[in-house]
């Protein structure tokens, strides 16, 4: 049947679109209809089912910080996903506590999503609460002052901006804390 399509342009167009749309629709429109956790915000009150907590929408300050994160392309070098790999749960963990893996219901309010594809720097999916504002101020001004060997660019124009810096830090401190996985190890405590 397909042999006819190299003489008939109309037949070709129909066949090419049918072939494409089978996979196209089944992998984009259908999956969120089947897996409801993609759209339902995380909430768990039962410690026997894993970490407790509730996903809340971002505050205005966090949203503003998130815009800075998008604008500066932080997501080209930092992923935001603790994968189902043992090493990821150690690396996203803190002071010996392994972090829970990332699940779709933790990202319902993320727009644009910041999962990322490349880890030139460490994953940030559970970075919230690990370092205080002063640490971030020094680190953004020149990362190599705190982390010798780092290749992260300096961002003095963010540190010197009294509106953007607190917003960006607020966003960073929020990341990964909707699952309450390390109640005793925050820098604040």
């Amino acid at each position: 049947m397909l042999e006819k399509t190299d003489k008939s342009a109309v037949g070709f167009v129909v066949a090419a679109l049918v072939f494409f749309f089978i996979g196209g629709l089944l992998t984009t429109v259908v999956p969120p209809l089947i897996d409801k956790t993609w759209m339902k915000p995380f909430e768990n009150n039962d410690p026997s089912k894993g970490p407790t907590g509730k996903l809340l929408p971002y505050t205005d300050l966090e949203k503003k910080g998130r815009k800075v994160y998008v604008r500066e392309g932080c997501w080209y070098c930092h992923t935001q996903q603790t994968r189902t790999l043992v090493a990821d749960t150690y690396r996203s963990g803190w002071k010996g506590v392994r972090s829970p893996i990332s699940t779709p219901d933790e990202f319902v309010y993320d727009d644009p999503h910041m999962f990322g594809t490349k880890r030139t720097g460490p994953d940030l999916s559970r970075i919230g609460g690990k370092y205080d504002t002063q640490w971030h101020r020094t680190h953004f001004r020149n990362p190599r002052d705190l982390v010798p060997g780092s290749v992260m660019p300096p961002f003095p124009w963010i540190v010197n901006n009294p509106e953007e810096f607190p917003a960006l830090v607020a966003y960073i401190q929020r990341l990964g804390r909707d699952k309450n996985w390390r109640p005793d190890n925050d820098y604040e405590k």
Binding site: D6, A15, G73, A87, R91, I101, T117, P153, P154
Partner: protein, 476 residues
């Protein structure tokens, strides 16, 4: 037998039945501007590669920071250079394969003008931080709408030409060009418009459908369309098998679109969707090996031409890179391999082999073949063309191979959580240094390519000496 094969590909035959004089104005506009962007964006590429070696370089100027220049590098190379060059070559080969003039040169030139506005708009807007935040889909919305307008104009011109064709049978390059146009019309808005109506994992799934198919259903089919046209042309030999080319095309049309979720393996996306994407990623070996076998079989008895024929050198090394990159792809999608290489520096090594090593090599070969013919002259220098090949080949191999080795090593280190993350960064510094100097070699190749093309164009104007010289290749 050769006659029969030539009949199967009437437009590719050494002596076409219909010999329309072609204006090629649109093709010239697209090709010349795209090659200029190849060079300009090459400077951006070198700058960001240098930032890995000297991280404070230009570090206090916001518009020159890594996070602002990287999207310019990616979008500039993909849309300013490669897609524009592919479109230019489509404007060249479609009328020839149809035995008629291009449907409308005026519409084509208008398309080229819009395309240049898009690229120049991106050069201004991306460094200012106007970034939508999705990979490959960074361009701000006004530019996205312009891309869609230009794409529809391109579609009208190509389908208009095909509708008036004199050869009933459509050669395989026409299928790939039409496929690219049809699929892009849906793939591009999925990644650039539909994402606005979703969030989180749902959005990421659409984003990866687009990112994967920007390569799989835009650059792959248009690039293979070029290879199907220019390999028989440059080697002056008929295509090995029409039937194999059909198997390759229709399996690609069915299989590619399913694989987007393999970009989030082990990540927060449904396991069953990951498994589907893995199964279809493995099936990609069918279209790839079919097409590559067809190209190699076409070259049977013709390999000696690689010694002298520069377009053929680019084409056949492009085919080898295509085979390798499309073997890596399905292997990366296996969960065990993915746990090592995903998110590491292996991935840019893999991506550059596809987009530079395979598809840019096809577009460069097409440019070297088509530009002298469009300007009715001879290539300025075959020796310089040969230099551009070896600079790009050695620089490219240096880039790909060091990043694979470094990325694999990095992946093993990450999987041992007792190694602090910063140690895995420091370990990669020699790799990034080699990558930068490989980039310098690649840039030297791009410079030779640009100079050669520009000198050819300049020499073709005014002086009549071109007509006195013999044609470049015995073909045509």
């Amino acid at each position: 037998m050769p006659e029969e094969l030539q009949m199967k590909s009437p437009g590719v035959a050494a002596t076409p039945l219909y010999d329309e004089p072609h204006e090629d104005t649109t093709a010239k506009w697209f090709l010349i501007s795209s090659i200029a962007y190849f060079f300009i964006v090459g400077i951006i590429a070198l700058t960001i590669a240098a930032k890995f070696v000297w991280p404070s370089l230009l570090g206090t100027v916001p518009v020159l920071t890594y996070g602002r220049l990287r999207p310019l590098h990616v979008n500039g190379m993909l849309f300013g250079w490669l897609l524009a060059a592919d479109m230019g070559l489509a404007y060249y080969l479609v009328p020839r394969l149809c035995g008629v003039k291009l449907f409308s040169e005026k519409l084509g030139v208008a398309t080229a003008v819009i395309w240049n506005i898009i690229v120049l708009g991106a050069v201004v807007m991306l460094p200012l931080g106007l970034n939508k935040g999705w990979e490959y889909a960074e361009l701000p919305l006004p530019l996205v709408l312009l891309v869609l307008v230009a794409w529809i104009m391109f579609a009208i011109n190509i389908f208009g030409t095909i509708a008036t064709r004199k050869y009933e049978q459509m050669y395989v390059s026409l299928w790939y060009t039409m496929g690219t146009i049809l699929w892009t019309t849906f793939v591009y808005p999925t990644g650039n418009v539909a994402v606005f109506f979703t969030t989180g994992v749902n959005q990421a799934n659409l984003n990866w459908m687009y990112v994967h198919n920007a390569v799989g259903l835009i650059f792959t089919p248009i690039g293979l369309g070029l290879a199907y046209y220019f390999i028989p042309k440059a080697a002056n030999t008929p295509l090995y098998s029409h039937k194999l080319s059909m198997v390759g095309f229709w399996s690609l049309a069915f299989v590619y679109v399913w694989t987007g979720a393999h970009h989030m393996l082990h990540g927060p996306i449904s396991q069953w969707l990951q498994t589907i994407s893995i199964a279809f990623s493995l099936m990609l070996l069918i279209p790839v090996w079919t097409v590559v076998y067809n190209f190699f079989a076409t070259m049977k008895g013709q390999w000696h031409q690689l010694r002298e024929n520069v377009p053929l050198k680019f084409l056949m090394s492009g085919v080898v890179f295509y085979l390798l990159t499309c073997f890596q792809g399905p292997m990366h999608s296996l969960r065990s391999v993915n746990a090592i290489v995903s998110k590491t520096d292996w991935i840019p090594g893999h991506a550059h082999m596809a987009v530079l090593g395979a598809f840019s090599f096809f577009a460069i070969a097409g440019s070297y073949y088509a530009i002298p013919r469009m300007f009715k002259t001879k290539l300025y220098s075959d020796a310089l063309a040969n230099w551009s090949f070896w600079f790009l080949m050695i620089g490219g191999l240096g880039f790909f191979v060091t990043l694979w080795l470094g990325g694999f090593w990095q992946g093993w280190q990450w999987n041992n959580p007792s190694i602090p993350f910063i140690d895995t960064v420091v370990a990669l510094k020699p790799v990034w240094t080699v990558r930068f100097f490989s980039g310098v070699l690649m840039f030297a190749g791009i410079t030779c390519f640009l100079f050669n093309v520009m000198a050819t164009v300049v020499n073709s104007g005014g002086k009549q000496q071109a007509a006195l010289r013999p044609a470049v290749a015995p073909a045509q």
